[in-house]
Structures are given as C-alpha cells and as structure tokens.
Symmetry: C2
Subunit: 114 residues, 2 copies
C-alpha cells in the first residue's frame, strides 16, 4: 500500500518538517549527509565508502568528509574491515539511531497535523 499524497500535501509535509527541524536542531546536516545517514541506517550492512559513493552518485571524498562530520557528532562509526584491510566498514551508533528515531517521530507528527 503506497503512501497517499497529493502534490500540495507532499510539499506541505516537507515544509512542516524542515521548519520544525531548523527550529529545534542547530545541527544542520546537508541533504547529502542526511541521505548518507539514512542509507546507513535503513539499508542492510555492510556499508563502505565506495559503496555509498556509488549509491549516492558522488565522489569518495564527499563520503569521507561526511563520515568525518557525522562521526564527530557521534552519529556513525568507522571500523577497519579485517577481512580486507583496504576497506572501512561504517557502523551504526546508538546516538545515530536515536537521532533518526526522533527525526522519524517529527515527520509523523507533522504529517498528522497536516
């Protein structure tokens, strides 16, 4: 069953969520960073820099930098892959899960108030 949305409702939802997120959270993740974060948490692991770069259609340094930033915020973690030590496996964190959980609630609440 698809999510039923009219054009104006869709933009209205985005509007309400963006507005509330800006008001509530000073951490201003870029859309790219958000896409990366959601990819990590919603798609089954393992996640690598190269894989994320390919999925997002961006270069590898973009991923590295985003992981730097979000790592400093505690939203993700990096672990060297012991099977192939060239790889880095991106790990989820409790704080990251909490962050997205709150964000999901925000979407739902704003959707309810539409």
């Amino acid at each position: 069953m698809p999510v039923e949305l009219t054009p104006s409702r869709a933009l209205g939802l985005w509007h309400a969520v963006a507005l509330e997120q800006v008001r509530v959270d000073s951490r201003d993740l870029t859309l790219r960073q958000m896409a990366i974060l959601l990819q990590i948490y919603l798609v089954p692991p393992p996640h690598t820099v190269r894989g994320l770069a390919a999925t997002l259609g961006v270069t590898k340094p973009v991923i590295t930098r985003a992981l730097d930033t979000m790592g400093a915020l505690g939203l993700v973690d990096r672990v060297r892959d012991e099977r192939d030590r060239r790889n880095v496996v991106i790990k989820r964190t409790v704080e990251g899960a909490l962050y997205l959980e709150k964000f999901g609630d925000l979407i739902i609440n704003q959707g309810r108030n539409l």
Copy 2:
C-alpha cells in the same frame, strides 16, 4: 484526513527523496534554505526578511544570505516595499515554482514506490 505514516515508512520516504534529489540535482540547498523557500511558496505573502527570520528562529543575515543564494539561482526575487521603503518583499518566480513542483513530484513518486 491526516497523512498515514508508520515510523519506518516515514524515514523510508525521506531516504528515498533525499537519495533521488542528491542524484538528480547538483544544487544542494541546505535544510534552512529549503525551509525558507517552502515558506515563501506555501504561505500567503507578503514575506519579509524580518518575518522569515522570526518564523525560522534564525538571525536576519541568515535570511539575507539565503535570499542572495536563491536569488542567484533564480528561485526567488526581492522587491523594495514602496509603502515602507525599509522593507523588502520577497517575491516568487516562475523558476522557483517549477523547482518546487518538480520536487513535489519527486516526493509523490518516491512515496508511491514505498
């Protein structure tokens, strides 16, 4: 009738939209800029720098800079208010309307594919 969303569906929708938007459009508006843009286009005018700053909970220079950037992209326009020449009234543009229309379609399509 509210938009019905479960937590995972809400994040999934955001994920799909963010991913597709990153892949398709090199213009990477920040969440703040997007919130401003949507406010301008979804809420009845007039819109002023001061009003937007208050609504978003940010300082005036943030709005000025965002309008500079989005103005350069053709997404919004600025016109001096002739009634009170201290004010600037933010105007919508055809290109901005088109941009949001496409974005709305993106949300709907991704919502359908959930």
